[in-house]
């Protein structure tokens, strides 16, 4: 616990001993040590697929992470393979003109999968435009997810079905929605944990600050999960922040921060798993920064060669989350060719679903423009709707 002198008594004395105090007691560490990230990122499986020796995993007192159970790892690996397949399939569909745009998470699939798997059914997830794979891993219909990117409508899935917020484009705005969902649940006494996602660039926006502070002040069970993929479109991390790490922002809000190897699915499951557990128990929000890399361009419309060297991409290829996990699980005897091919089949099913779902042009109804603006259209909108109908029928007539 940080002490202050008699003139400014420690703030923790001003406040009722919260559950952070509980965590401190449990872990036997100071408030600063709890809130600051461990000095190293947490990594359990090395890029070549080997278990990292315990004393090199980056853990330290109060920042210990047991390895997740075998079954959990097996399930996660399956989702990882599917996630990669989804990214590749969608990029292909964009090239074929079946979709307007796709921000791929190729290379970040471990983050995507861990984000989905660490939550329970009643929990909520708030994803960005890049998190399609996470949304699908949470059970949302893949073709519905693609509605936004094929351009049929702004959103294709019902957020209430799987408790997944809309894919937010205005950066970090969704973190506040996550805070609100958690707050509402807390007021009703529900044990909902909310995972709120954003990128490294997005941490610079004012809403990031406001969301973290609100969550901390109201002690809400929100995990802020930052995928630090090193770029915001063309802008590298060094132009975004000069902090020791993005996880170092946590202490400024009075919450715990941690860094994790974002290409190590095992470490991600461990760190996010503990974060969810702590949050559910009432420790308030946590900030988890995952170090990963956007292997492809920002979207298909972007040309990444304008702002980064190929060599950097090659370097990160060697840290691929999928290859690493495959080696690790195979070496552990949790994976063999039979399992691999069963998983590959499942991935093909999803890919086929996407191909099929996006193969035909859905017809759109122009009157949808007016139907959903309000819970029922105003007289002005009815007038405008009639105007459009009239125009379209005139057009029809002259055809």
């Amino acid at each position: 616990m940080i002490s202050a002198n008699r003139v400014a008594p420690p703030k923790s004395e001003d406040k009722p001993a919260g559950t952070i105090a509980g965590s401190l007691r449990r872990f036997g560490i100071s408030e600063e040590d709890y809130m600051l990230p461990a000095r190293h990122q947490i990594q359990m499986v090395s890029p070549d697929g080997a278990l990292v020796p315990l004393d090199e995993q980056g853990t330290q007192p109060g920042h210990e992470y047991p390895i997740p159970a075998d079954q959990e790892l097996a399930t996660a690996y399956e989702q990882l393979v599917i996630g990669r397949r989804v990214n590749d399939q969608n990029s292909a569909l964009v090239r074929q003109g079946r979709m307007a745009v796709y921000p791929s998470s190729h290379g970040q699939e471990a983050c995507q999968v861990a984000a989905a798997l660490c939550l329970s059914g009643g929990d909520w997830m708030f994803p960005t435009y890049r998190d399609s794979v996470a949304i699908m891993a949470r059970g949302v219909d893949p073709v519905q997810v693609m509605t936004l990117f094929r351009g049929d409508w702004h959103g294709g899935y019902n957020p209430n079905e799987r408790n997944v917020g809309i894919q937010s484009t205005p950066l970090t705005t969704q973190l506040l929605h996550a805070v609100g969902v958690a707050h509402a649940a807390k007021l009703r006494g529900e044990e909902t944990v909310v995972l709120a996602m954003c990128g490294d660039g997005a941490t610079s926006e004012g809403d990031f600050h406001e969301a973290l502070n609100f969550a901390a002040v109201f002690k809400l069970p929100v995990i802020f999960f930052v995928q630090n993929n090193k770029y915001a479109i063309s802008v590298p991390l060094a132009h975004q922040s000069v902090a020791p790490s993005l996880a170092h922002k946590a202490v400024g809000y009075g919450m715990a921060g941690e860094r994790v190897d974002g290409n190590d699915l095992v470490a991600l499951l461990a760190v996010l798993g503990r974060a969810v557990k702590l949050a559910r128990e009432g420790s308030g929000p946590l900030l988890v920064e995952a170090h990963t890399y956007r292997m492809q361009a920002h979207t298909n419309a972007d040309d990444a060669t304008r702002y980064r060297e190929d060599s950097e991409v090659v370097e990160w290829q060697a840290k691929d989350p999928l290859a690493r996990m495959r080696t690790y699980l195979t070496d552990r005897g949790l994976l063999d060719d039979a399992v691999e091919s069963r998983i590959a089949e499942r991935a093909e099913v999803v890919a086929a679903q996407l191909r099929e779902g996006l193969s035909e042009d859905l017809s759109v109804d122009p009157q949808d423009l007016f139907k959903y603006v309000f819970s029922s259209p105003t007289r002005q909108l009815e007038e405008q709707s009639a105007l459009l109908a009239d125009e379209l029928s005139r057009e029809e007539a002259t055809k």
């Binding site: 909520w124 409508w153 702004h154 959103g155 019902n158 957020p159 209430n160 917020g165 809309i166 205005p170 705005t173 973190l175 506040l176 929605h177 996550a178 805070v179 609100g180 969902v181 958690a182 707050h183 509402a184 649940a185 007021l187 009703r188 004012g206 809403d207 600050h209 406001e210 969301a211 502070n213 609100f214 002040v217 949808d368 139907k371 959903y372 603006v373 309000f374 819970s375 105003t378 007289r379 002005q380």
Partner: protein, 368 residues
């Protein structure tokens, strides 16, 4: 001062007329009409809504213990506890963004922006999410939330405390924008805003907070209950605040009382002006406005906001489109000038006042 408005808007039957049942209940009520401020009426609306529905919660800056800088939320924390009326950290985007999430998850937040210009930090949340969530999810996500904004001038406030910001919201598709002008409407329209499944920007003319009117809150309560039962409401209905025959003054919010004062002055000079209280900017009641202008053939639109690209511009555009052949003169606007809201000692020159309105009426080409 606004008794006329209320009375006439009751009288003309356009606005949620009391049903027989409510009237009976009112007659039975001990109290009868009392002198009530707009502040009190708005407060009562929140109290009643919170009593009716546990999902209604109130938050913002200083709204808890202090009861808000205008004391509009006075007593709510005491009555309903600090889980249902509470202070937030000082961050408007945070307040609105959190309200979006709460509304997504079963609550009906009623949030306060401390002053008009201090809602601007929340502009992205309001325009890009509050206004669009229902539409982008094809109605799967409803966003029943009310953003209360004390707005407009006339209180001698320093800069940023007197903006008339309605045009920003009215121009944004997906927001409803209410602008009550009377004490009764303060109660009635806020209840309806809270009941609405759509997000409502609720503009409270701060210079009228302490203006009083004879109203019977019991009657308003009863009317509201009856309307809910019957599935009716006053949403989107304008009111004839004062009937007249020679020209129409169209106003809303803080300008209605000015328009009424102008009409009273004009009456002394033998000119009969009809005053329309727009009440709901979005949705807009073309019917009532058009009927009046078709009848009088002349119109002046009055609003405090800068005139350029404003709600007043919209009203002129709509009315000329719909009443062209009834118009004996161009529609005039009496609005704030296109200058930043001035310092206290100059606001008098900025605000549309009775004289400026009467000058505009005089200019309506009466000799043609």
């Amino acid at each position: 001062m606004s008794a006329t408005i209320t009375t006439s808007s009751e009288a003309n039957g356009n606005v949620s007329a009391a049903t027989a049942k409510a009237a009976a209940r009112a007659a039975a009520s001990e109290g009868g009409p009392q002198s009530v401020t707009l502040a009190r009426a708005i407060n009562a609306a929140m109290v009643d809504a919170m009593e009716t529905d546990r999902a209604v919660i109130v938050f913002g800056e200083d709204v808890g213990l202090l009861g808000g800088v205008f004391r509009i939320t006075d007593g709510l924390t005491k009555t309903f506890g600090d889980q249902r009326c509470f202070d937030t950290p000082l961050a408007e985007s945070g307040i609105v963004g959190m309200a979006v999430g709460m509304a997504m998850n079963g609550m009906r937040p009623v949030i306060e922006m401390q002053f008009d210009a201090f809602a601007y930090p929340a502009f992205e949340q309001i325009v890009s999410h509050v206004a669009k969530m229902h539409n982008r999810t094809k109605g799967a996500v409803k966003l029943p939330m009310v953003i209360r904004i004390p707005y407009a001038g006339g209180i001698g406030g320093v800069e940023h405390h007197c903006d008339s910001s309605e045009a920003y919201y009215a121009h944004t598709a997906g927001l409803k924008v209410y602008a009550p002008a009377t004490v009764a409407d303060g109660y009635r329209m806020l209840r309806e805003a809270i009941d609405s499944d759509d997000p409502v920007i609720f503009l409270e003319p701060k210079k009228l907070y302490w203006s009083k009117d004879l109203v019977d809150l019991e009657v308003l309560r009863a009317q509201h209950a009856d309307n809910v039962e019957a599935g009716t409401s006053s949403e989107g209905r304008a009111a004839v605040a004062r009937p007249g025959t020679d020209a129409t003054l169209i106003a809303y919010g803080p300008s209605v009382s000015t328009a009424l004062a102008a009409a009273a002055a004009a009456a002394e000079e033998g000119r009969s002006l009809e005053v329309i209280d727009v009440r709901s900017i979005v949705p807009f009641d073309d019917e009532t406005v058009v009927a009046s202008v078709r009848k009088t053939g002349r119109a002046v639109v009055i609003a405090e906001a800068h005139g350029f690209a404003s709600v007043a511009s919209e009203i002129v555009a709509r009315v000329q489109e719909r009443c062209f052949h009834s118009l004996a003169a161009p529609i005039r606007r009496v609005t704030g000038f296109d200058v930043p809201y001035p310092a206290p000692k100059l606001e008098h020159f900025y605000l549309p006042g009775v004289d400026r309105i009467l000058d505009a009426v005089d200019d309506l080409q009466w000799e043609d």
